[in-house]
Symmetry: C2
Subunit: 332 residues, 2 copies
């Protein structure tokens, strides 16, 4: 696999928060490949996506610090002097946010407000790109969901991500920080946490396909989703960071390839080469926060930057399964 | 002054959080007058509105606990067995939220999420009414602002209040808690904090009128506002709590009497009997978070419950000034 490269980052000083996590580590690797000087901070909290192995390919090239964003004194020296701050730290499990809402609040709000305060004091000129989520919209009122869609989250995670994104945009308007938010849809690929089943259906599908277990579809599997391969998402972060007109804006990512959960499962099985699809009733805890079909329009970001996803889902799934087969012991 | 009474609360067990504060204490007094069995919790945090003197008229009748909502073990025994929980604890200063955003987050989000978790475990049948704010809307895109207006807060306080209200409504949808939110506009009256100048222009006007100081208008004073006298707001809480159809809903309060800041200042001077109006340039920290003219439609709440404000602003200001003249030593 070739990580995205972007020559505009040559010699740039870049901080990636949550940089040992799924998207953060892929981004850190791409930045190193682009010639950037990369610092990673990650709290490596249990059950979250942070995994030291994720950074194995660039272990010698990144300056890694195990650090919680809420420890603002220690954070200050990491923030000073950075040209770019890619802010990907966070808790993403919708299920966990409902069973441990105060933890979600601490990780997804306290952390980011702390980081923004440190940026305001120590490095107000840094370019900041935050990882938002389509979960901020809640259950779609129309499809595809664009940025004008109301934000009515269906779980605590969505509420806290909404608040944290709004902090970022407010710190631009009031304090002049140079912030952008990308609202991510279902991202998948190498380096994702697949060890437990609480970080989205794709991680579960990948794990079960690897293990030859049946892929369970809740309901009839007709719910539609747009998926983004992590390389395309990393490229979106690189493009957003380099685009001055993106400052103060929030953008959806997304895909023109809209698939049902059943189609995704069947593609996965075809690639994995074994297993089967099993239809099961919706578990109560998931049904209550389910959003039905959901896919997003990325036309605003496309118009501003030209970004669009490049990797077809089937190819991306193949690369993903291949990665986990080679490194199963670090993820299972 | 006669506090609102509501016979539906006779013998009802009621908890008021923030019950030593401005609106909370007025509500606690009204509940006692209505024959309810009232428990008050208040953290009495410095610089916030909590003031033991506010509860002087009902000192013998309320069960008072100095308690932070984040201390959930201690809170559990106060929550158990309550029929109603009026949740008015909070930090309301927009200015303070910008200088100490993490404190605002702790007080306005952690506290309420903690309370909701305690309610879910200990008393899921309680009727809960939360005090939201029109600040959740941010700068109005149209007037009057109704509940369909997008929530784009212009300060940290507005973001955190928005998150906390959304928690309340989510806990209804997901966990079946019986929650309602009232989005308050500019509330004024006896028992408000007027000691410092960071809790809104009305408190400042009242204080300066009492002291015979000039009333300062930022800009030209043409910004429009709707004011609610605290007795009308207390009545709205009593009505909302008793209305089953209000569960799961958010409602604006407001007034049909829309006044410019200049008109309000001039009315205040006429009643206070001395002083003058002074036009001054907008201070930078306030200008950045100012929302221009803002007034809200309360037609949704009126249609659901028949509530409308009863006390004209001039009468209400007269009662207010009179209260502070009699009790100046407790507020200045």
């Amino acid at each position: 696999m070739t990580p995205p490269r972007d020559d505009r980052y040559r010699e740039a000083r870049c901080l990636v928060t949550g940089g040992a996590g799924f998207i953060g580590s892929n981004l850190a690797i791409a930045l190193v490949e682009s010639g950037a000087r990369v610092t990673v901070v990650d709290a490596l909290l249990p059950d979250l996506g942070g995994n030291r192995f994720n950074l194995a390919p660039v272990r010698e090239q990144v300056d890694f610090h195990e650090l919680d964003l809420r420890a603002s004194d220690a954070l200050a020296s990491r923030v000073r002097g950075q040209d770019y701050i890619f802010n990907l730290a966070g808790q993403i499990s919708h299920i966990d946010s409902m069973t441990r809402p105060l933890d979600d609040l601490a990780i997804n709000c306290d952390s980011h407000l702390s980081l923004l305060e440190v940026c305001r004091r120590e490095n107000p000129a840094a370019r900041i790109v935050y990882a938002g989520t389509r979960q901020q919209y809640g259950r779609p009122r129309y499809l595809p969901v664009d940025e004008a869609h109301p934000l009515v989250p269906t779980d605590i995670n969505g509420i806290n991500k909404m608040a944290a994104e709004t902090y970022h945009l407010l710190y631009h308007r009031i304090h002049g920080l140079r912030t952008t938010s990308l609202r991510l849809t279902n991202t998948f690929g190498p380096r994702q946490l697949i060890r437990h089943a609480r970080q989205g259906f794709l991680a579960v599908f990948i794990r079960r396909a690897l293990e030859g277990q049946p892929l369970k579809l809740f309901g009839d599997g007709s719910q539609l989703r747009d998926l983004n391969f992590v390389d395309d998402v990393v490229r979106a972060f690189l493009i957003a960071g380099a685009q001055a007109s993106a400052i103060g804006e929030a953008y959806n990512l997304g895909s023109r390839e809209v698939l049902s959960l059943r189609q995704i499962a069947e593609t996965m099985l075809r690639i994995g080469g074994r297993g089967r699809v099993e239809v099961v009733p919706f578990p109560e805890d998931r049904k209550r926060i389910d959003i039905g079909s959901c896919y997003c329009s990325f036309e605003k970001f496309h118009a501003a930057t030209g970004w669009e996803p490049r990797v077809p889902v089937a190819d991306a799934l193949e690369k993903t399964i291949d990665y986990y087969r080679r490194h199963a012991d670090h993820y299972l």
